[in-house]
Amino acid sequence: MTDTQTTASMRPATTQDVADILMDAASRGEPLVVRGNGTRAGLGNPVAATRVLELGGLDQIDFYDPDDLVIRAGVGATLDEVEQVLAQKGQYLPFEPPRYAGLYGTNGARSTLGGAVSTALSGPRRILTGAARDFVLGVEGVNGQGDVFKAGGRTMKNVTGYDISKLVTGANGTLAALTTVTLKVLPAPRAEVTLVLPAATLEEDVALFARMRALPLGLGGLARRVNASGLCELLVRVEGTVPGVAGNQQVLNGMLATRGGMVVLEQEQSRALWAGVRELDCLNAKPDELVWRVNLPATTMPAFVEQARSAGCINRFFVDWAGGVVFSTMRGVQPEVDTLRYRKMAEKAGARATLLRAPDAVRAQFGAFPPVSAGVAALAARTRTAFDPAGILNPGRMTVQA
């Protein structure tokens, strides 16, 4: 499930090495697969290239300034290491980056910070604290001509020049080979609990999520899943100071009393649960199944899910972001037909359906990412040319070549 046909990989240790490699490749118009350690290489379309530029060797932590809530590191620094360093000072990456190692059958301990920025994947806490793009303060990278550039900075506020840092976040390595990233971090909540309660219908559950979110209770996770015993349940994560969480829990108890059957998970149990939600564990995706993420307005989600299930496009699913995202599996029996049907269904519902995992041929044909309008596609193509005129950086990773 990685990029096909690659035979050789280059693993530079410095920004200058990256620049040399790219200048050389640009001069010959040679396309390259650009990645960190390749743990999420199954995300996006397969890239037709014979050589891999692997940035995992740029793994230094340049500085970490807890009082200033900022860390700068090489793109190859592992998420595990970065999160450990932050945890020692009671801080964290608020966007809760998933590794998806289980999904892609890779080693999550090797997942890199640069990969988190380049894929812009955000975990369950996104509804409260924001997405990957909201925490990237600055970057250094090499464009497709081998030029080293920097953008952004290290301060919390910065409107100096175009926000290139946002542009490269989520660009999946198609604009530049990033070499270092500077991120805003936050103090981790001192206390967290998760309330687990039995699910009702999707409509009722989404309405309940909306009622809870209407109150300023600092809810850092609202999900609905099928648990290990096969029961459908709602997960409500409450975070904050110790007295704050206790107070908010009381408010929620009153609100949720009619549901009954509530179980409370404290601190460590709660953390372990959400780490699993972040990694989509509860999908139990079988090796031959396709895995989808659909982003949509929470209010339209129940009807969409019902329709997709009855059409056989959703096998198992769970809901996160208070109903605003559906992760689902699809049987791999007729992936081409079902992919097309599911995408059409999503488009009609005004949703965006991303194929998180599928055989190379399916992603190559239909694209892992949902199509955009012709005008936006053309603007995106011109923007890519502005960074990579020769088209050597992960060509086709995000777009299906016509």
Binding site: D68, L167, G350, G375, F387
Partner: protein, 497 residues
Amino acid sequence: MQMPEPNQTIISQRDALAQGLRQIVGKDWVISDDAQRRPYQCDGITAYMAMPLLVVLPGSAQEVQAVLRFCNEKGVKIVPRGSGTSLSGGALPLEDGVLLVTSRLCNVLAVDEHNRVARVQPGVPNIKITEAVSHLGLCYMPDPSSQLISTIGGNVAENAGGVHCLKYGVTANHILGIQAVLMTGEMVELGGAYLGAAEGELDLMGVLTGSEGLLAVVTEIAVRLEPVPEVARVISMSFASVEEACECVGAIIGVGIIPAGLEFMDRKVLDAVSVLIKEKFDDRTAALLLCELDGTAVEVDALVGVVSDVARGQGAIELKVSTTEEERQRIWSSRKLAFSAIGKLCPDYYCTDGTIPRNKLPEVLNKMADMSKKYGLDYANCFHAGDGNLHPIIMYDAAKPGDLEKAEEFGADVLIACVDAGGVLSGEHGIGVEKRDLMTHQFTEVDLQQQQMVKCAFDPKDLLNPGKMFPTLCRCAEFGRMHVHNGNLRFADIPRF
């Protein structure tokens, strides 16, 4: 400050252009006579003025498209403008350019309570969004000081901040979708009206936000709405020295608290304010911090306790905590009146917004004292301490020959000191024309070229707001063939304006 030479051929076509534009927006919405154009000569920086060729007020996104298409065909430049509150000259008109004003695009189009999104037109004043949803217990979080007047379209163009962005983030963190028109008149829809609507596409919305009107004209915005915090309380903390106040900023954040706002005022500001609010500050006070905490009542009470302890530990000589909303407003009034109070002390003042790592505050503030001596101009400090966003207020007298130039040089020195301390030229006001020529101090030629290449992808003819943000005009035709190494740009000696 120098702008590109106006194109006399375009200026000579003024009447014909006005006629063409009237056919698009209607005869009442093209302003061509001198008296009515005059109010549009400058934005929030009154030191820079230019008479726009024409002022056009389109009444719909379709009219914006038609205006841009028309101007693109004729090779006429466009300067977009909301309410004109920019503090960096971002909406400074061009003598050979059409000023496109969004005032008529002022409707809140839809409020989606359950998905917590509002779709608004660019000319809606920031505060009007919150007013439109407050009955639902919701608000639009970013709150630039200009929020009564400044438009959401202008906020997007400048990626506006505000007092509460320390905890809640800046404009870019609250935008879910943008409809925008390129210079060719082509409309693009980026993201949409729900969280995650932009997943899996290049973050063009991210780069449009804060692009100062150089890339496209925004015609509709989908913004995130948040529940209004249950309570907010403010602590006023006095310190005997500027250093202690600065250190307290890091200490509060160091214990794991992100206040809703954390503001700094020095003694000069306090003295100016005390005249207006008729309240005396303790004689020993050299600097004051205002720290706002919000959330649920229980949580805020706990945080007030922790912050008070931290402040005492950092040597605070006096603490005042608001217990009612009225008290909170009264404590904040000193900060809200600060700039007008300073305005009464001197004929003119000049304020920039360089931003630095928080732990460099004492160092840069000390440098400012030296600069004040060097230029012989007085100054005061009143700024967003929590995010290191300085607002030095440099006092001068425009009537005195050379004073404005000295104030500008003083301001530039402060910005250079900010960059040298690891910071940036602008935290929230933008580059515009004001800081344009300092961009080379923060960025290498390669960095700037990469940014200008993005401009070429959006506006290859360089007709949208040219002369802003970059010290040189875009050379899109040449970029494709240029190759830069180690910061050595070919044509390095071309004239800058």
